[in-house]
Symmetry: C2
């Protein structure tokens, strides 16, 4: 998906919500466990219920790998279902990969050729040649970790170099030589509040993938105040707050209501900042 | 596997070789493609041929994920085969994972409970709470990226902070508060030569997992000169140089010969430094 297709879809949906598919069989409604593929059955119901209110889905690979072969099969079915039934929705495989060149090439092939997702999260620690193999696919995106939402983000990401540049800032600066805003996004945690202003000084137009609203305590209003661009420039993710809104047989309706509530807050922000018209 | 079990096995094998199982169906002998599980058929032959000469195996997850469900099944069969037939060999899942706490917990469960590998490679960028979920398993290890073998390692890992500490040194220092040398190893590329001396000043006894000998051009002698401890303290990986030594039906014999040649070089180094006796 191109930058302009993504921004057009955000405007038509009046939403920049990404629904995180962190599907955990210990938390899904118990009646689904009788299904032959309960992970996919849950995802399909969540997807169909929330699709009108979001623009992206983000399956978190850890939750699929933990179920081994069955988990991978459910992940593949989920991507295939999205591609067939909701082809305008952006799919982010949240895998945080990144390795030496020949290994990253194998990961790129897995996610962008065999699976056909739109984007993959990638860790920057190993540098340019670990990221470049993901950048050889037109319309496919790297979502590079910059400043994450967890407490441990302070351990290394905030380290200042001799010039006073923090590591996350160095990642933002250096990686802009690798690709432009049409192929690169950055992960910035919603819990980082005013640091969004620092991010926007270095990456004024790039899309930011923002986890951490909801269960992790980040504020949607702060994220928009400091992070929204003229084209929105944000994909705000919510996982647990939507997909586990309810564990009864009405779970999909509850997920839809939770997604719709976030969409409405997002529409207000998009209107307030002139990204869409009333 | 405990630290003392690992060092005892290195002494009895007179080797610190780790064989990297980067299995790529475009490079395996073509007669294997007729097998119903060619990835596993290749791995089993390589394992049985090289087991006398090595102490560890390192399947690289990218190479399995690229084949989707079939690749995951082959990965699981490989781990299971090693556990049953070569129970003293150390198994490292080279996955370079690391995410927020609840996600790392899922990865830890996948690799340490369901699959029962001994160690997992982990990226440090997200800090302490992204690594700690992997440290809750007795006898299981985190292999943290410190200074990698690729050119891009210079992009961020060598950045100096205001005190002149480079990022890889900060990773070594900070992470030693998280676990000791009985649960933590570090990835240091063989191409880093004299920087092994800097590593050993900060981590005098930790095991180092060393990729980059062979195809990537690192020197085994330099690695041993600067990196070997009284307990060896090294696992040196070779992937392509062993498993693709030959693409004929005699591939397993060629892999054995390549592994044996490295084992003999390693035995010389272990003798020279008094880790084993003649």
């Amino acid at each position: 998906m191109t930058y302009s297709e993504l921004t057009a879809f955000i405007r038509s949906q009046r939403s920049f919500l990404c629904v995180g598919l962190d599907t955990d069989l210990r938390r899904v409604p118990q009646h689904l466990l009788a299904d032959e593929d309960p992970i996919f059955a849950f995802n399909r119901a969540i997807i169909d219920a929330t699709a009108p209110y979001c623009v992206a889905y983000k399956p978190n690979l850890a939750f699929y790998e933990t179920y081994g072969v069955k988990g991978w099969a459910a992940f593949e079915r989920t991507v295939d279902y999205l591609r067939r039934n909701h082809p305008r929705h952006f799919i982010i495989a949240d895998a945080k990969r990144g390795d030496i060149g020949n290994t990253s090439t194998m990961y790129a092939r897995a996610f962008f050729e065999d699976l056909d997702v739109d984007a993959l999260t990638v860790a920057p620690y190993m540098g340019r040649d670990s990221v470049e193999p993901f950048l050889g696919y037109e319309g496919k995106w790297v979502v590079l970790l910059a400043l994450t939402s967890n407490k441990g983000s302070a351990d290394f990401q905030l380290t200042e170099d001799a010039d006073g540049t923090r590591l996350f800032e160095r990642v933002l600066q250096t990686s802009q030589d690798w690709a432009g805003e049409d192929q690169m996004m950055y992960v910035v945690g919603a819990t980082q509040g005013e640091r969004f202003a620092d991010i926007r000084r270095l990456a004024p137009r790039h899309f930011l993938l923002v986890p951490g609203v909801g269960a992790q305590g980040g504020s949607l209003q702060d994220v928009c105040r400091y992070g929204m661009t003229d084209d929105c420039g944000l994909l705000v993710n919510s996982s647990r707050g939507i997909i586990y809104a309810d564990a009864t047989p009405c779970f999909a309706e509850a997920a839809a209501a939770a997604a719709r509530a976030l969409q409405q807050e997002m529409e207000t922000e998009l209107l307030k900042r002139g990204v869409i018209a009333a």
